[in-house]
């Protein structure tokens, strides 16, 4: 039953009295009430902001860290500051990007060392020059089977750099690991590069690298950089330069300077190569434990080597897909190592150490790239052959010098003896003249001298002198002789 049949909605009694009334007595909505407008706008603002937030979340992953905590979603991922023993890490935050230095991405720099005392000062000068923020670089050293003072010098240098007054110098965490593997092979240049020793040496090297990495890789590392201590010249921006390519594994070209008599320069690291059919066929024929090593006549693989493709004037950003990598300077994303790629200390597809590492990374579908025109320079250590050659060269040089000296001596003697003859001849000549002079004087004396007074005593004195110094001072004799000659 309609309410207004007995009363107005504004509470007035429904009466027959014809008093003044405000008509109509029913609710009539206003055409555009402010309230509804407001609600509409509020709704629009909310929906637009949600949309914007979602878009932002999609575009900027870093924004997630800002937004999610405010929504209470990431309580799961935060460390409780009260519990120091429990740590949470999200590996998707440490994937590694092209501009890591802007995103505070940490690099683990691994340096295997053995008897490297002499290289350390040079290595540390490189380290100081790195332009990548030092506090983001964690250093890890493995010192194995060293017989020199590598360890003490290393620690001294490290403590020095950590105590540097320049706030940009000190590095992140530093671990020095001491572990001996019982190196059977001597590590001098000749043995090191001998063919027979290669497989065993490479496997021990691989073992050392794996120990170093597995002990020091932490969940907060985005990158891992492998660097040998005996690199002589490398750009200080090398970390950024390699990182910019945003590849899973990347290596520069490694050459070494040579003395002029050997041609000035030479490709050094032959372990960065592209696989070839020949090498694959060769691998098929080999024993399960055999290791193919590059640069030896025993294994002609006909692979395209990164090193030989260098053009000194080429674009340093040119990339080349490779299968085996050299270990002098490798930048890899940490996720490569987390996935399980390592340096095989056994024969993996007939390869070991860094070459096996490249192969394994490829096997797990990671990108492995080399930069043919971006070159760093390895230290030149003369090999035994070179040393022999240099010895021979030194001998030759000494011989040549001796010969030259002899020649000089001979020439001097020749001149001297020529002068002797001349002197003698002069003397003879003088004597003859003197005799002739005397004779004529005697003749004159017999015939009574004719007023030649002043010249006579002078000539006489000269004669006396010549007589007293006979045979001794050649020059005097010569001079007197000349006088005497002039006398006539």
């Amino acid at each position: 039953m309609p309410r207004h049949s007995h009363a107005y909605s504004n509470g007035h009694a429904y009466g027959p009295s014809n008093t003044f009334s405000i008509s109509p007595h029913r609710f009539q909505p206003r055409t555009q009430p402010a309230l509804r407008w407001r609600r509409k706008i509020l709704f629009r603002i909310c929906s637009i902001s949600t949309l914007a937030a979602v878009i932002l979340l999609l575009i900027f992953p870093s924004f997630r860290q800002v937004l999610l905590p405010s929504l209470g979603l990431s309580a799961l991922l935060r460390d409780d500051p009260m519990i120091s023993t429990v740590k949470h890490y999200d590996l998707s935050n440490v994937q590694g990007t092209a501009r890591g230095w802007e995103k505070d991405e940490r690099i683990l720099m691994c340096v295997p060392l053995r008897d490297a005392e002499v290289h350390l000062p040079m290595f540390f000068s490189h380290l100081r020059n790195f332009t990548y923020p030092h506090r983001l670089i964690d250093l890890a050293f493995l010192v194995s089977d060293s017989k020199d003072h590598t360890l003490t010098l290393l620690k001294k240098q490290l403590e020095k750099v950590q105590a540097d007054p320049d706030p940009l110098q000190p590095f992140g965490e530093i671990s020095v690991i001491e572990k001996d593997f019982g190196q059977k092979v001597q590590q001098d240049v000749e043995n090191r590069h001998g063919f027979a020793a290669q497989a065993g040496r490479r496997k021990t090297m691989a073992q050392a690298r794996n120990w170093l990495l597995s002990a020091t890789l932490r969940p907060y590392h985005s990158w891992v950089y492998w660097r040998d201590a005996d690199v002589e010249t490398a750009p200080p921006t090398i970390l950024e330069d390699l990182m910019r390519h945003n590849k899973d594994v990347i290596v520069p070209n490694v050459w070494r300077p040579l003395p002029d008599w050997l041609g000035g320069e030479q490709p050094y690291d032959l372990n960065s190569w592209q696989e070839s059919e020949t090498a694959l066929a060769l691998a098929e024929t080999l024993d399960e434990d055999a290791v193919i090593v590059e640069g030896y006549a025993e294994y002609a693989t006909w692979r395209p080597h990164l090193a030989y493709l260098r053009d000194p004037y080429g674009d340093p950003d040119v990339e080349m897909e490779i299968d085996g990598v050299g270990g002098v300077s490798i930048l890899a994303k940490a996720r490569v190592f987390r996935a399980g790629v390592h340096f095989p200390a056994f024969s993996f597809e007939r390869h070991a150490e860094t070459e096996g590492f490249g192969k394994m990374a490829k096997r797990m579908k990671f990108s492995v790239v080399g930069l043919p025109h971006y070159t760093i320079w390895h230290l030149y250590e003369p090999s035994a052959d070179d040393l022999k050659h240099m010895e021979r060269m030194e001998e030759e040089r000494l011989e040549k010098e001796a010969r030259e000296k002899e020649e000089l001596e001979r020439q001097r003697r020749v001149t001297e003896s020529w002068q002797d003859k001349k002197g003698e001849w002069e003397q003879d000549k003088k004597e003859i003249q003197n005799k002739a002079l005397e004779k004529s004087r005697r003749e004159r004396g017999e015939r009574k001298p004719l007023g030649g007074s002043e010249q006579g005593p002078h000539a006489h004195a000269g004669e006396e002198e010549a007589e007293s110094k006979k045979g001794s001072g050649e020059s005097n004799a010569e001079a007197n002789g000349m006088d005497a000659v002039g006398d006539v």
Binding site: Q65, L77, L91, R135, K155, N210, A215, R218
Partner: protein
Amino acid sequence: MARPLRRSSPITLILALVLFLGFIIFLLSPSNPVPSIPQSKIASSSSTRTSPNSPPPVIHYYLNNLTTSDDPIGNREKVLVLTPVARFYDEYWQNLLKLNYPRDLIELGFIVPKTREGNAALAKLDDAVRRVQTGSKKNRFSGVTIIRQDFDTPVPQNEKERHARPAQKERRGAMSRARNSLLYTTLGTETAWVLWLDADIIETPHTLIQDLASHDKAVIVPNCYQRYTEKGKEKVRPYDFNSWHDSETALAMAEKMGPDEIILEGYHEMATYRSLMAYERTEGDPHHLTELDGVGGTALLVKAEVHRDGAMFPPFPFYNLIETEGFAKMARRLGHQPYGLPNYLVYHYNE
């Protein structure tokens, strides 16, 4: 108030909103240091050398002195217990807490996938860990690391789909990556042993670590069984078939396979005739040892040096083997022989 709003076009509103949001972002975003000139942070640290911001010290580790022996407690050897977590079972946690190896020598590591299920497991795990680590000091583990994995696990992990053969390679490949990611981020300089214990192992002897270590083998695996009830009677049955001795048939099969195929155990269409440790159990001496060619990962004790040498869980077919079986092969290639204890049982959760 209403009039100006009404008049302004939606474009103006959107622009205003974008500006507003930009302002909010500017306010809230973490201040990234200017590229390669992180002066502000460190400059302050240099002025106060002794502050916690001062550069970290050089730490020297003597790995030559690290031992793995048959008396791990006596030699104070650190054990790292690693568990890939897909689901959190309370029974697993309770069993872990019952292990009587000294807690200050145990470190725990967990890896959790980024799925809804993973989130749920993580929440429970976090809770359980927090309870122990805030409890009395002597009951705390020496460290706990919880890691979220950075890649997707391909197949939903329910019992039926999990064992579908075509999915196995992909699933176990992802499992290997998870294991490797966990291992290589948690293995420290002091770790002597690594115990792999799956999240669905709910019952083991309390002396598991000491018992397995007492054999002083590089890789050692107990037999993994499952309890079930049949007609009201409690029974056990073998569960993990990945621990085996190789057979001529299996080797010949591998010979014929392409490098990207894998041999799997327990499928009728692929009869390998390997002798499985699961069926070698007798009621005899629980310390009876047997040499193995493949190992399962449900419970597995490994000397840290095996992992350090590079033996990992291959996420790709390695000699036509994958994950823990591939790991056993790799360990053998590196000169470490795996062993099994057929009469020493651990129990798997029954779904």
